[in-house]
Assembly symmetry: C2
C-alpha cells in the first residue's frame, strides 16, 4: 500500500515537474511566449481592436442573453471573464471568448427548467469537462470533424440564428425552436408586424451593411503620402466601419430615448452593477420549488455533454479559420476554454466559447496578441458599472439587425464548388450535416456529418485500391509474374478484399501457375486478423502449388506476419526476386517431369 502511495506521489511529482519545463510552460501558458516580446506597437493594435470588440460584445451579449432566455445583464456577465482568462491561456491572438448565438440557443434548450442558476451551473460543469478533455489531450479527436462538416454546421447555424432574429426585426412575440418552427410561426404572426420596429430594423441593417463596405473602399485605404488630417479622417472612417455595431446601437438607443415611450420594443431593464463573485449554484429555487444538485443535473440532462462538445467545436473551428498557416494546439485551446467557463461561472456567466463574428472584428481591427481581450473585458466591466441605466433604451429591432448582419456572412455557400472540384464524395458530409442541422437539430447535424465522413473513410479502408499488373518477360531471362500492389495499409477490414484480389490475380494467369508477387511497400503495420488472412492466402497458394512472393516488406510488418505463419516467401530485392522466381519455375518444370 505504502509503495502504491509513494509511486503515485512520484508520478504526480514527475507530472508537476514536467509541467514546469520550459517547453511545457510555453505550450500550456502561451502568454509566456508573447509577453516577453510585447512592445508599444502591439499595445496600440491590441487597444484599438479590444475597444472595438468591446463595443460589439455589449449589444451582442445582451441579445444573446435574451436568446438564452435570461435577463440581459447575464449577457454582460458572460462577456468579460472569458476575455481575461483567454489572454493568459489562449494560443490564438484573434479569438475572443464570450456569449455566442449557438451557445445561447444551447443554453436555452438545456437550462429549460428555468433560471440563470441552471445556465451558470452548465457553464461550470461544461468548463470542467472541456478542461478535463484538454488535459487528457483529447484535442486530436477534433481532427475527425472535417471541413465540409464544419462548413455545413456553420452555414446551417447562421441561417437558424438569422431566422430566429426575424421576430425582433418585425416586432413580433412568439417562442419557436429550430428553423422550421420559426418559419411557421413567423408566417402565422406576420400580420402583427409593427411598422416602427421593421422600419428601424431595416434602417439598421442598411446602415450596418453600408458601414461594413466602407473600410474596403479604395479611398479609405491608408496611404503614407496622406497629410495628417486626411490620415486621421481615414482612420475615423475605418474605426466607424469596424465599430459599426456599437455605433448603430448607440444611435438607435438615443433615438429610442428621444421618441415617445412604446414607439419601439426595447430591451428589458439591465440590472445595474457588477456581478457578485461567488461559487456556481449547486442548488436553486425556481417558482418556489427547490432543486437539489441531482434535480438540476436531471434537468440539464445531456446538455452537460453536448454544450462542451459544441463549445469546443465552435471555438476550434474558429481557431482553425483564423490560424493563418499555424497548426492549432486543440488540447491547449480546450484547456483555455475550460478555464474561461469555470472562472466565468464564479461571476454568473452562462456557457461561453469563441465568437465567430467578434473574432473576425478582432482580426480586421488589427489585434496583435491575446492582450486585446483585457481591453474588451475592461470595457464590459465599465459598462456594467456605469452604463446600465442607458442600456435598456436599446431597441430589440436594432439588436436583431446587429445579429443578422453578423451571422449572415457565415453562410459558406462559396465552399460548395471547391469541395465538388476536390472530391465529389465530400458533398455527402457537407449536405448531410447542413440539412440535418437546419431541419432537425444543430448538434445532430455534427453527429450525422461525422458519421457519414467516418463511413466513407472506413469504406475506403475496407476496399483499398489494389493494382494488378502482369509483368511479362523482359528482354533478359527474367521470368514473368503477376505483380499485386495494394495501395493502402494492411488492416483487418481490408484483408478479405486484398485476399480476394490476390486469389483472383493468381487464378487469372495464363498457364494457371505463374508466380504472384505482392508489393508490400504501402503496408505500414499489420494486425492479427490481417496476419491470419495472409497466412490463409499462403496456405491457399501452397495448395494450388503456385508461388506467392512478398517484396518491400518493412521489418515491423515481417515480424507481425511471421508470428502466425512460418512459410512466408519474403524477398528483399529485385535481384533476389528474380532468383526466387527462376528456382520456382525450374522446380515447377521438374515436378511436371519436363
Amino acid at each position: 500500500m505504502a509503495s502504491v502511495t509513494s509511486s503515485a506521489t512520484n508520478f504526480l511529482t514527475r507530472k508537476v515537474r514536467g509541467f514546469f519545463t520550459k517547453k511545457t510552460l510555453n505550450a500550456r501558458l502561451p502568454i509566456t511566449q508573447w509577453l516577453p516580446k510585447y512592445n508599444l506597437e502591439m499595445l496600440e493594435g491590441d487597444v484599438l481592436a479590444g475597444f472595438t470588440v468591446g463595443l460589439t460584445v455589449i449589444p451582442q451579449g445582451i441579445a444573446y442573453a435574451l436568446v438564452a432566455g435570461l435577463d440581459p445583464n447575464y449577457g454582460l456577465y458572460s462577456s468579460f471573464m472569458g476575455c481575461f482568462v483567454y489572454t493568459l491561456l489562449g494560443s490564438c491572438k484573434d479569438i475572443t471568448i464570450g456569449p455566442t448565438a449557438i451557445m445561447a440557443i444551447m443554453t436555452h434548450e438545456y437550462s429549460g427548467a428555468g433560471g440563470p442558476d441552471f445556465a451558470v451551473l452548465l457553464s461550470f460543469l461544461s468548463g470542467l469537462i472541456i478542461l478535463a478533455s484538454g488535459t487528457c489531450n483529447l484535442g486530436f479527436l477534433i481532427t475527425f470533424i472535417s471541413k465540409p462538416v464544419i462548413c455545413g454546421f456553420t452555414s446551417a447555424a447562421a441561417i437558424t440564428i438569422a431566422s430566429s432574429q426575424l421576430k425582433g426585426l418585425f416586432g413580433l412575440s412568439y417562442e419557436a425552436e429550430g428553423f422550421i418552427e420559426t418559419c411557421e410561426l413567423l408566417i402565422e404572426n406576420i400580420a402583427g408586424t409593427r411598422w416602427q420596429d421593421i422600419t428601424l430594423g431595416i434602417c439598421c441593417i442598411v446602415s450596418l451593411l453600408a458601414m461594413r463596405k466602407l473600410k474596403d473602399l479604395k479611398a479609405v485605404k491608408p496611404n503614407a503620402s496622406d497629410p495628417t488630417g486626411k490620415k486621421v479622417l481615414k482612420k475615423l472612417v475605418f474605426l466607424s466601419s469596424v465599430g459599426r455595431n456599437a455605433i448603430v446601437v448607440i444611435v438607435a438607443a438615443i433615438v429610442a430615448f428621444a421618441v415617445p415611450e412604446n414607439t419601439f420594443k426595447l430591451t428589458d431593464t439591465v440590472q445595474p452593477g457588477l456581478p457578485s463573485i461567488e461559487p456556481p449554484p449547486f442548488s436553486t429555487v425556481v417558482n418556489n420549488e427547490t432543486y437539489s444538485f441531482g434535480d438540476m443535473m436531471a434537468s440539464v440532462g445531456s446538455g452537460v455533454f453536448i454544450i462542451p462538445l459544441i463549445s469546443i467545436l465552435e471555438s476550434i473551428a474558429i481557431a482553425s479559420a483564423f490560424s493563418g498557416g499555424k497548426t492549432i494546439d486543440a488540447s491547449q485551446e480546450m484547456i483555455a476554454l475550460g478555464f474561461c467557463n469555470i472562472v466565468g461561472s464564479f461571476v454568473q456567466s452562462m456557457p461561453v466559447t469563441g465568437s465567430f463574428s467578434r473574432t473576425a472584428v478582432n482580426a480586421t481591427s488589427g489585434v496583435r496578441s491575446p492582450a486585446g481581450g483585457i481591453v474588451t473585458g475592461l470595457l464590459v466591466v465599465l459598462a456594467l458599472a456605469f452604463l446600465t441605466p442607458y442600456l435598456q433604451y436599446i431597441p430589440q429591432a436594432t439588436l436583431s439587425a446587429v445579429i443578422i448582419c453578423a451571422v449572415i456572412f457565415m453562410v459558406e455557400y462559396e465552399m460548395v464548388l471547391p469541395i465538388w472540384r476536390t472530391r465529389k464524395l465530400d458533398q455527402l458530409p457537407l449536405w448531410g450535416s447542413f440539412l440535418t442541422c437546419l431541419f432537425w437539430k444543430l448538434e445532430y447535424g455534427i453527429v450525422v456529418g461525422v458519421g457519414i465522413n467516418l463511413a466513407l473513410l472506413l469504406y475506403g479502408i475496407a476496399r483499398p485500391k489494389v493494382e494488378v499488373t502482369a509483368v511479362t518477360r523482359q528482354d533478359g531471362d527474367e521470368p514473368a509474374y503477376v505483380l499485386v500492389e495494394p495501395r493502402s495499409g494492411l488492416f483487418f477490414p481490408s484483408i478479405d478484399h486484398i485476399r480476394a484480389v490476390v486469389s483472383k490475380a493468381g487464378r487469372g494467369t495464363a498457364n494457371g501457375n505463374m508466380a504472384v508477387v505482392i508489393d508490400c511497400k504501402h503496408f505500414v503495420g499489420v494486425d492479427f486478423t490481417a496476419a491470419k488472412g495472409i497466412k490463409n492466402l499462403c496456405t491457399d497458394y501452397e495448395k494450388r502449388q503456385q508461388d506467392l512472393i512478398f517484396i518491400n516488406v518493412t521489418p515491423g510488418v515481417e515480424q507481425g506476419l511471421r508470428a502466425v505463419s512460418d512459410k512466408l516467401n519474403i524477398v528483399t530485392s529485385q535481384l533476389e526476386l528474380y532468383s526466387s522466381l527462376k528456382s520456382a519455375s525450374t522446380k515447377n518444370l521438374e515436378s511436371k517431369g519436363i
Copy 2:
C-alpha cells in the same frame, strides 16, 4: 408517369436478367456450381457426415429448445428446414444451419413475454432482415469485426453456455441469466445437488471426452494394407467417435427407461409428429391475453435487430474458420441464412444460424458438399415422425454433458499468444470483447470489441507515421533538402498531424530555409479537408520564403490538390526535383544579394 413506370420496369427486367447470367447464378445459387460435378464418392461422404450430424443435432436441438424456454419439440422443428435450404443456397460445404446455444439464449432473452409464437415470429423477421442485408451487399460490414473480437466473443459465449448447463448436470432448478448470476445461483443451490444426476452427468462427460480422443488414436487411422475386417472395425470405432453425442444420448435414454421413474431428471415430453406448415404467427394469445402484431413487436423489442446481427456474426465466423483458403462471400451466406430463417418460420422454427460444434462434426466426418444437409434434415424429420415417444427418456444431465463437451473446446485460450506476438495492441479488442461478453452481455461485447478496434484503427489514421530525412549534398552538385515521407494516405483526420510534422521539419533545418520535399507516394486520394490543409501548408511556406516541393503525386491526388490551391510546386521526377531545387537556391542567394 408512364415513363417512370417503364423505366422502373426496365430496371427490374435488367435486374432479373442480370440474375440469370451464369456468373450471378453461380454466386447466388451455389448448388449450380457443385451439383453438375456430383458423384458417388461425394455421396458417400455426404451421407455419412449428414447422418452423424443428424444424430448430434437431435439431442442438441432438444437441449437448445429448453435453453430458449420452449418445448423440446421446437428444437427439432428448428433442425431440419435450415439444412434443406442451405443445401440450395449455401456456399460453404461444412456449415450446418440449425438451433445453437447462443441463438437459444438470445431467443429466450427476446421472446421473454413467452410462448413459441414469439420465437417463430423472431425467426421470420430475423430472416427478412438478414436476407435484406445480404441482398444489399452489406456483407462487407462483417470485415469490421476482427479475429480478436470474434475470438473474445466465442470464448466468452462458450464459458457462458457451459456454466448455464451446470444446473442440468447437478440436477438443480433455477433461472439465471448471464455468467455472474449463473455462478451465484449455482453456489446458492449447490446443496440441492442430486447424486443420481451428477453421477450420470460425469459418466457422460468422461465417455464423451474419451470417445472424442478415440478417432485421433494412431491405431484407429485407416491403413490401405489392413484386412477388410480390421478396416470395418476401424471405421466403426471412427463412427462411434464422431457419433459420440448420439451414442451417449441413446445409451443414457435406455438406462433411464430401465431404472425406476424419477431416478434422473428427464426431458419434457416431446410432442409427437411433424410440425404443420403454416405462416408465422402475426398475433398470438399468451395466458388468455391477446397480443397484436404491434404488441409482439414491442415485446421482442431490439431483439429484431440483435438476433439477425448475432446470427450473421456466428454463421460468418464459422464460415471463415472452415473456409480453408477460400474467401467468404459474406453477402451470399447472409442470403442463405435469411432464407433458412424465413422458410424455417413456416414450420415453427426458432431463429437458427450456423452451429460451430456440428459444423466441426460435419467437417471431421468428411462431408463433401452442402448435400450432407439433406441427410441431416431427413433424419430429424424421421425422428419427429417416429421417435418422439422415446425422446422423453433422455436425461437432462446427459444433454448438459453433451452441450458442455461441445462448447468447452470453443474457448480459444491458445489464440492469446499468437495475437500478442503479431500485434500487442490487438489484446485490447480481444479482452475488451471477452470481458464485456462474460460479465455484461454477449451482444454488448461485440459492440465494445468493434468500438475498440475502430478507435485503434482511426487513431492510426489520424496519427500516421511520417518519416523525416535530411538529404545531404551528394558527391555531385545536387542541393541538400529535407525529405518528408508520410507513410499513410492523405485523409482529413491525418492532415493536421502531417502539416505539423512538415512545418517542424522546415523549421528544424540548419539554415532555416532548406527546401522541404514531400514524397506523396503513399497518398491514394485526397479529400477537401486535406487539400485545404495542404494549401495552408503552402501558404505557410510561402510566408517563410521556404521551398515546398511535392514529388510522386498521382494524377487523382494532383487534381484534388489543384482544385483548392494553384501555387503547388509538383515535380514528376528526381531530375526535375534537382533542377527545381537548384533554381530555388539561386533565387534565394539572389534575394539575399549574394
